[in-house]
Symmetry: none
DNA sequence: GATGAATGAGAATTCATTCAT
DNA sequence: AATGAATGAATTCTCATTCAT
């Protein structure tokens, strides 16, 4: 009867604990291997070896190699991102929410380095294997930021002249790159300790407002807009 | 000396103009193909086809497939980044320099979309094929930012309490993600128009300073640092 | 004697009725699956699924996948062919015997389409998995024809100038192809209705004897024998 | 430029003689291997080995393993069958045409035993890989027979009470099985020598017409039609 | 006896790279 | 220099068979 494949069970959460254990073992092994070598450089054999199962066993739990990445997002990453939401909901003010988002983000990624590496690498691919899943997660993340900024605008702690679409990317990107750097220095420092200074930068910017000379938001002359003057 | 390979010549720019033309043709074809399919999904045959040369010809100009990516960074990307340096040097104040950096960055990436896509995707891989080149470019970029921030601190337009290592990433990340978003929406809007608002965000932050309630830089209680309190 | 396999019992018909029932269930399921997909395209899992048993159970009743085909011939097909013998024995004249053979053949194959399909397909393979069984059955079939023709020659209803080896194939082939055509048109017409006209053709041939111009059994000129004259 | 694949050239006959030579070498090697082991038991490696090329080379000339079989029918078998048509057209009377068809058929199959084996085996599969090609060839063959019989009916040498659809299968099947038998006895006798006796059987049938007792076309009693009486 | 998860040998296919022309 | 046919190592995936439960 068995079509020799259990992966669909997983999708619908009907697995027995025993199988679940092996499923997670393979998934974690895969993430480790992906983190070390990148998705395309990794072979199914390596994953099987790392998980301590036979090559064929992988295919009982995953449709194919790509599906491992898909499920990484669906099953592992989205768990983490749902935790962001929960954490953010625990505090009330916009600024506190932002701090907590950043803190949790860095905290979770620091505590699961392999996930962090795979997430950062694969999410930046244009042709992504797990496009659907990534889109769902990104949406969740940007929704959190949107809410948070809108709240801040209401309670007066955040500027009202902000283009939300840009702000979301601005915040997201700043956090992302801090994580990236940490990854590429092999996690040699405490990522979480960057949370507060980073939140501070996002909120206050790097300008020295109102102190010495107030920032003159001097825009580039119009003619430069269309074409950068390479004088 | 039956030279069946010219790639080392290229590296040191000793190619004849005629060959140079073919070299660039192949490199551009490769970037286009990489942008469309990702490095690993692209085949040497596809690149050759796009460049209008035979498969074997690729190996007269490049050591191997990986080398194409290496030279993309060495030859193409670094050109662009050197232009950043030039542009930034043209203005004097820190804030102007920052604006010009962002502007040029977005401008150049918007004008060479294939480069932008390949750069964003491949640069985020941990196991990078062109690690050395990327590091050089990143260094160049971060040096520009460092200088710029230090200048700003001297002339009083930028905060003096900034951890430079973090600021660099903060700025880099914010710009990066704005580009990423643009790529993933298929470049449907004018990326360059984001330059000024983005510079503004980086300088002023999102906080509403001195207006209503000044931002209380309230740090999370100490005990939360080690472990996020999931209360 | 931890017997984890009963297949040898089956071979000698010592199974208990209960097991026999499961044995037949699996065999029929296999034939159905083989008929639909061909032997090589069919998987043991599919057969198990069709039979409503676990994959491993198959191996309690059959030595391996090939053995299913072997037993198909040994157990199923040979039953049918023995029925041919019985039917033929019921009538006395050669012509009646031939008619009855054809009729029964078409009748049985029409009534067990899966058997017909598997039989026709697998019997024509040169490297046959069940070679021994097929040979036995073919022998049985040809023996029937031999007897029948010899009888016909004795009672004067059949020509005496026949090369028996050829006649057997002639008859066998004609019947076979009629069944084949029926299979490949998805059994859309009544196969049994072909019995009489087919018998007629075998007995009378297609020639218009003694009516208009008697068939001149004109043989090709000698020189054409060794090599077809492609004039 | 090359997509590393030449098979489409072959399809449209644009190959250079040199490539053509290799194409035919592979095709013949494949047919030999298929004949010896059956299509499914044969591996691409075996074919490559037999042809004296690398495994990958196969894929320059054939889309995939299945395509080898498809092209066997399209390129090799159909050539042979077109020769049947030519031969048949060379003579005028129906009976001569039939003799020549049978003769050529046996002659060609005897002279290309591997082709004969593969043709007989794969053509009888219900789920055929080269269904389209087989259908074309079968049509061609049956058209020849149709014409031939119709001609015979006109010139009075063939019976007018024939159901053409059945006659075609009757003739086809008789020839087929003679070839089959020859294959399965490892071609130990002269197949072509069967041509005349076989043609004779087809034309005259096995009945002893007009000599002793004329064949009473006695049909089985009606009640036996629906259900064979297994008394 | 029955099960079905696990195994791993084996097969098809791809593609970077070479090299004779 | 340029070509592109040929190569064969490497990889994914399948599935018959086993065996602990």
């Amino acid at each position: 009867m068995s079509i020799h494949s259990l992966w669909y069970k997983r999708r619908f959460h009907i697995g027995t604990p025993k199988n679940m254990e092996k499923y997670e073992r393979i998934l974690n092994a895969a993430i480790k291997v992906f983190a070390e070598q990148g998705f395309h450089q990794s072979t199914v054999s390596q994953i099987a070896g790392e998980a301590g199962v036979a090559d064929g066993t992988i295919y009982l739990y995953f449709k194919n190699k790509d599906d491992i990445l898909v499920q990484f997002y669906e099953f592992k990453t989205s768990q983490v991102f749902q935790r962001f939401r929960k954490e953010v909901d625990k505090v009330d003010t916009a600024v506190e929410k932002l701090r907590r988002l950043i803190y949790t983000h860095l905290y979770e990624f620091q505590n699961d380095r392999h996930m962090a590496i795979v997430f950062q690498a694969e999410t930046h691919q244009k042709k992504r294997l797990a496009g659907e899943q990534i889109r769902k997660i990104s949406k969740l993340y940007r929704d959190i930021i949107s809410e948070l900024v809108e709240l801040g605008q209401e309670d007066g702690t955040m500027r009202r002249d902000l283009y939300l679409g840009l702000v979301k990317r601005f915040i997201n990107g700043a956090i992302d790159e801090v994580i990236n750097s940490w990854i590429h220095t092999d996690g040699s420092y405490d990522l979480v300790s960057m949370a507060d200074p980073l939140a501070d930068l996002i909120i206050r910017g790097i300008g020295n407002h109102g102190v010495a000379s107030p920032v003159k938001v001097r825009h580039l002359p119009k003619e430069q807009k269309g074409n950068p003057v390479i004088t």
